[in-house]
C-alpha cells in the first residue's frame, strides 16, 4: 500500500470548524485540478431552490458556472437563474457597491425571493468592497434576508468554500425561524445536495419509517426550512468533508447530536436509518425502521441477483472526488466488485480510516489527482471499470475503459436501496456494451488477413 502523503495530515482540519492558519494543502501551480472556494460555496447553497443567488464580480464567475450542477428541484427554480452584477472596468475603478445595491433591489422587486445570497469573488474581495455592509443595509430596507457569502475563489479549495457557506448558514440563517406548529420534529440532512434526485429516494425511505425530514441542508431545500434547522432532534452528516463543522457547531450551540452516515449501499442505508431512530430515542420508530430495512434488503437481494452474476469478481478503480469513497466502497462490495484502487485526495483522516477498514491490503491508494495517475492504477491493477467524476469521463473514454459517473453532473441517483440497484444496472450496461469490442478491433483493411473471395 502506498503511504499517504503528509499533505493529507495537514488537510485534516479542512472540514473542521476552526482551521489553523493554513487550512488546506496549497494547490500546486502547474498540476492543480479542481474548483475554488467560490465554487464550493455555490455547491452548498445553490440547492436552496427558492432563493436568489447573486454573484458580485465580473461575468465569468457566474457566466461560466451557472447551470452546471445536477441538483434537482421539485418546484421553485429561482436558484437556477444566473444572477451577476457583471462588473465592467469602470465599476472596478470606482467601486461596485452601488451596482450591488441596485442589483439586490432589482432582484427583490422583480422576483420577490424569500432570501438573496450574495457571493463575493476574487476581484470584489481584492478591491475591498464592503459586501457585508451593503447586505445588512439591504436586509433592513427590503425586509428580506440578504446574506453575504464571503468565499472568494482565491482563499482556497472547494472544500473550504463548502465550510464558509456552512458558516454563512450558521451566522445568518439557522435559528432565525420557527417550524410550523403541525410539523413533528425530526432529522436534518447535512451535505446532501439532491444530485440526480437522490434526496427524494432518501426522503421516501425516511417517510416510510415515519421519520420526519426537518431541514434539507441543502438538497431541494426551501429557505424557510433552514431557518428552523436548530429545532431538529438529530443531524445526519452525509458529506463530512464539506459540512462536518456545521454539525459540530450545531451540537455545541443547540445541543443537537449528530452522526456521519451514508446512503450508498444497502448496509450503510440500513445503518443510517437505524442511527436516526436510535438518536431520536423512539422505540416504536426503531421497530418500524427494522421492519422497513428488512423488507427492503430482502427485496433488493432478489432484484440484484441477475446483475451480481455479471459483476461478481470485477475489479474497479474508484476516484470519487466529492462523494465519500468509503461509502461507495461498501456499495460496490455488496455488488461483489473488488475495489483495486481508490482516490483519497478529498477524504478526511476519519474517511481514510474507514476506507482502510473496508478494502483489502491489495488496494492502491491514490492520494493526488491527475488523470495519468488514475489511468496508471487502472492499467497496473488490471481494472475492468473506472468509477469517477465527469472530469475524468472522457479520459476514460479515450482509453476505452468502461466508466460510471459518480459525481455531481451525473444523471442517475445511486442512494438508498433503489439506488444500489440502479448502480448495479449502470455498471452492467457499461461493462456489457458492444462498443468496447468494436472500438478495439481494427478496420478490415488494417487486418493482415487476405480478402476472402
Amino acid at each position: 500500500m502506498e503511504p499517504i502523503r503528509k499533505d493529507e495530515l495537514e488537510a485534516k482540519d479542512c472540514g473542521s470548524q476552526a482551521p489553523k492558519s493554513k487550512p488546506c494543502p496549497r494547490p500546486k501551480p502547474g498540476e492543480a485540478a479542481g474548483g475554488c472556494s467560490f465554487d464550493g460555496a455555490q455547491i452548498t447553497l445553490l440547492p436552496i431552490m427558492d432563493a436568489a443567488h447573486l454573484v458580485h464580480g465580473p461575468i465569468a464567475c457566474a457566466g461560466n458556472s451557472w447551470e452546471s450542477r445536477g441538483t434537482l428541484s421539485s418546484g421553485p427554480s429561482l436558484s437556477q437563474y444566473g444572477f451577476a452584477t457583471d462588473l465592467n472596468d469602470n465599476d472596478i475603478i470606482f467601486g461596485g457597491e452601488k451596482k450591488l445595491k441596485d442589483s439586490i433591489d432589482y432582484i427583490a422587486g422583480r422576483f420577490a425571493p424569500p432570501a438573496i445570497f450574495v457571493y463575493s469573488t476574487c476581484v470584489t474581495a481584492l478591491i475591498g468592497e464592503d459586501m457585508d455592509a451593503v447586505c445588512k443595509e439591504a436586509t433592513g430596507r427590503l425586509g428580506i434576508p440578504v446574506i453575504p457569502v464571503n468565499s472568494p475563489g482565491f482563499v482556497g479549495s472547494k472544500n473550504l468554500g463548502n465550510r464558509l457557506a456552512g458558516e454563512a448558514l450558521l451566522q445568518y440563517v439557522i435559528g432565525t425561524g420557527e417550524p410550523e406548529d403541525n410539523i413533528p420534529l425530526g432529522v436534518n440532512l447535512i451535505g446532501e445536495y439532491n444530485i440526480a434526485g437522490e434526496m427524494w429516494d432518501i426522503e421516501k425511505l425516511m417517510n416510510s419509517a415515519g421519520i420526519t425530514l426537518m431541514s434539507r441542508i441543502t438538497g431541494d431545500a426551501r429557505y424557510k426550512e433552514i431557518t428552523w434547522a436548530h429545532r431538529a432532534k438529530v443531524n445526519m452528516v452525509v458529506c463530512s468533508r464539506a459540512l462536518l463543522g456545521l454539525a459540530k457547531a450545531m451540537e455545541s450551540k443547540y445541543h443537537i447530536p449528530y452522526f456521519e452516515g451514508s446512503f450508498y449501499g444497502a448496509k450503510e442505508t440500513t445503518y443510517s436509518l437505524r442511527q436516526m431512530a436510535f438518536l431520536m430515542n423512539d422505540r416504536e420508530m426503531e421497530r418500524r425502521v427494522d421492519r422497513l430495512t428488512e423488507r427492503e434488503e430482502s427485496r433488493l437481494i432478489q432484484d440484484l441477483r441477475p446483475y451480481r452474476k455479471i459483476l461478481k469478481g470485477k475489479r474497479a478503480v474508484l476516484y470519487t472526488g466529492g462523494v465519500k469513497s468509503w461509502s461507495i466502497i461498501s456499495a460496490l462490495k455488496e455488488l461483489g466488485i473488488q475495489v483495486v484502487g481508490v482516490g483519497t485526495n478529498k477524504s478526511t483522516d476519519d474517511d481514510i480510516a474507514r476506507i482502510a477498514e473496508r478494502v483489502g491490503d491489495d488496494t492502491e491508494f491514490i492520494p493526488e489527482g491527475g488523470a495519468s495517475r488514475i489511468l496508471k492504477t487502472v492499467r497496473d491493477r488490471k481494472a475492468d471499470i473506472m468509477i469517477a467524476g465527469g472530469r475524468n469521463m472522457y479520459v476514460a473514454m479515450k482509453e476505452q475503459i468502461p466508466f460510471v459517473d459518480i459525481n455531481q453532473e451525473r444523471h442517475r441517483a445511486y442512494a438508498g436501496y433503489e439506488g444500489l440497484l440502479r448502480l448495479a444496472k449502470e455498471m452492467t450496461y457499461s461493462l456489457a456494451n458492444p462498443i468496447w469490442k468494436l472500438a478495439s478491433s481494427p478496420a478490415p483493411w488494417d487486418k493482415e488477413v487476405p480478402y476472402d473471395r
Binding site: R26, P27, K28, P29, G30, E31, A32, A33, G34, G35, S37, F38, D39, P58, I59, A60, C61, A62, G63, N64, S65, W66, E67, S68, Q80, Y81, G82, F83, A84, T85, D86, N88, D89, D91, I92, K99, D102, S103, Y106, I107, C122, V123, L126, I127, P152, G153, F154, V155, G156, G370, A371, S372, L375, R391, M393, Y394, V395, K398, E399, Q400
Partner: protein, 442 residues
C-alpha cells in the same frame, strides 16, 4: 444599424462567457499546447468543465493556482512554478499564458516576467506567449481572436524578418472564428482545398475537438495544428479569415509580413457560401467542383420545401456577435421574422448590421422574444425558451443537451441545408404538439 441595451443593474441569466475561456478554446486547436490561466484555480476549473461538457473531450488547461497571499505578495512566483512543473513534466510545444481580470486589477506584470523567464532558461524551439483576457470586457469571441492574434505575433517574432520570406501562392492560411464548430472548420478546409490550395488552419479545432480515438493519455492537447505548420503558414500567399473578429490577426499578418487577406463575415447560408466559392474560383482559376453545384441545388430545394414551414414564423437568436451576424443572414434567406437579436458585447460587425441588435442576456431574450416560435441560443436558453413556449434550437456555446453538437455543421451549402431542415423540423414538431393538445382540450 442600432445597438441597444435594456437598462437593468444586474445581469440575469448571462449570455456572456468569459474571455479567458475563448483563449483556452483557441489553444485547443494547436498540437501539444497547454494554456495556463494565471489566476485562482476556479478560473481554469470552470472553463475546463464547461468545454469538456460541450465538446465531450478531455480539455488541456492548467492554472497558476493563486491564493490570496500570492496575489498580495508575488503572483509571478506561482506562474514560474507552474512553468517549471509543466516544462519538466510535459514539454509542450506551445504555452499560452492567459492573464485573468484579477491580474489586471492587482497590476501583475507577467508579460515581462515571461520574457525574462524565456531569456534566462534559454527557451528555444517552442512557442510561449502571454495574452491579457480580463472578463470585464469582451466575451468568448474576443478572447479567442485575441489569443490567435498574440499567437500570430509570437510566430512572426520567432520567424524573423520579412526578406527571408518566400511566398507560396498555392498555400492559404485559414483563420476560423470562434463560432465555427469542428465540423464547420472541416467543411471550410475542404472547400478551400477543393480548389487546389494547401490550407494551414490556425488554430485548427477540427483535428483536435472533433472526436477521435487517439490512445495514450496526455495532459497536452492532442490534435490541432502543429507548430512547424504554423511557422510554415508565414509563407502563405493569402490569409482567409472567417468572422469579423478574426480580421485583427489577419491584419497583423499583413502588416508584419505583407500577406494579403480576405475576411468573410460568415460562411452560412446561400449567399455567404456563394461569395466564398466565387472568390476561391476567381483566385484559383479552377472551376467550382461539381459537388458544390449539387450541394447548392440541394440547399435551394430544401429551402423551397421548407418555406411553407417558415412562413409567418418568428425567431429569436441570442449568440456571440459574429455568430449572430451569420445566423441572421441565413434567417434573412429563409424569410422568417427576426423578432429580436441579442448578443454578448458590441463589435464593429454587429453595429454594422442593418437590424437592431441588443447587447444583453438571456433574460432580455425572454422579454424581447415573447411570442417567438423558434429560439436559437446555447443550452442556457432552454429554460427561457420553455417559459415563452418557443421551440428550442441549441447553437453556439455551450451546448450540452444534444449529442454531437460540436460536429453540427452550418457552414457551406450542406451546413445551411442541415440547419434549414433542423429548424424546420423543430417547427413541424411544435405545430404537431399544439394540434394534439388542442384536440385533447376540446
Amino acid at each position: 444599424m442600432t445597438v441597444s441595451k435594456r437598462s437593468k443593474p444586474a445581469s440575469v441569466n448571462p449570455l456572456k462567457i468569459g474571455q479567458s475561456l475563448g483563449g483556452v478554446l483557441a489553444l485547443q486547436g494547436c498540437y501539444r499546447a497547454l494554456p495556463i490561466i494565471h489566476g485562482p484555480q476556479g478560473c481554469s476549473a470552470f472553463p475546463k468543465a464547461l468545454l469538456t461538457r460541450h465538446f465531450r473531450e478531455p480539455i488541456a488547461v492548467q492554472t497558476s493556482a493563486l491564493q490570496e497571499m500570492d496575489v498580495i505578495f508575488d503572483a509571478n512566483r506561482n506562474l514560474e512554478e507552474a512553468l517549471n512543473t509543466i516544462l519538466t513534466k510535459h514539454r509542450p510545444d506551445i504555452i499560452g499564458i492567459i492573464g485573468t481580470e484579477l491580474m489586471d486589477v492587482a497590476g501583475v506584470d507577467y508579460q515581462s516576467m515571461l520574457k525574462s523567464y524565456k531569456r534566462e532558461r534559454n527557451l528555444r524551439g517552442g512557442l510561449a506567449f502571454s495574452v491579457t483576457l480580463p472578463d470585464f470586457i469582451g466575451s468568448l469571441e474576443s478572447g479567442f481572436s485575441g489569443t490567435v492574434e498574440a499567437m500570430v505575433d509570437e510566430l512572426i517574432q520567432q520567424a524573423g524578418h520579412r526578406n527571408q520570406r518566400s511566398v507560396n501562392s498555392r498555400q492559404i492560411t485559414l483563420l476560423p472564428g470562434s463560432f465555427l464548430t469542428p465540423g464547420d472548420v472541416m467543411e471550410i478546409k475542404e472547400m478551400i482545398s477543393a480548389f487546389g490550395f494547401e490550407v494551414i488552419t490556425v488554430p485548427d479545432i477540427s483535428t483536435s475537438l472533433s472526436g477521435h480515438l487517439l490512445t495514450g493519455f496526455s495532459p497536452l492537447t492532442r490534435g490541432g495544428v502543429p507548430l512547424d505548420s504554423m511557422l510554415q503558414s508565414l509563407q502563405s500567399g493569402l490569409t482567409i479569415a472567417i468572422g469579423g473578429s478574426m480580421e485583427r490577426p489577419a491584419r497583423r499578418l499583413h502588416n508584419a509580413i505583407g500577406t494579403p487577406y480576405k475576411v468573410f463575415q460568415g460562411a452560412m447560408g446561400l449567399k455567404a457560401t456563394d461569395d466564398l466559392l466565387h472568390f476561391l474560383h476567381q483566385i484559383s482559376g479552377e472551376p467550382v467542383p461539381l459537388r458544390y453545384c449539387w450541394h447548392r441545388e440541394n440547399l435551394l430545394d430544401s429551402m423551397l420545401d421548407a418555406h411553407f414551414q417558415f412562413a409567418g414564423m418568428s425567431v429569436i437568436a441570442a449568440l456571440e456577435p459574429d455568430h449572430l451576424y451569420s445566423v441572421s443572414q441565413w434567417l434573412e434567406e429563409l424569410g422568417v421574422e427576426q423578432k429580436a437579436l441579442i448578443t454578448s458585447c458590441e463589435t464593429p460587425v454587429v453595429s454594422g448590421m442593418e437590424r437592431e441588435v441588443w447587447v444583453g442576456d438571456l433574460d432580455d431574450a425572454e422579454v424581447l422574444g415573447s411570442g417567438a416560435d423558434l429560439w436559437i441560443s446555447s443550452s442556457h436558453g432552454l429554460a427561457g425558451a420553455e417559459r415563452i413556449g418557443a421551440a428550442f434550437m441549441p447553437a453556439g456555446f455551450p451546448v450540452w443537451n444534444e449529442l454531437g453538437a460540436y460536429m453540427s455543421t452550418s457552414a457551406g451549402y450542406r451546413g445551411a441545408m442541415d440547419w434549414t431542415n433542423k429548424a424546420g423540423n423543430l417547427l413541424i414538431r411544435r405545430e404537431a404538439g399544439r394540434r394534439e393538445s388542442s384536440v385533447r382540450h376540446r
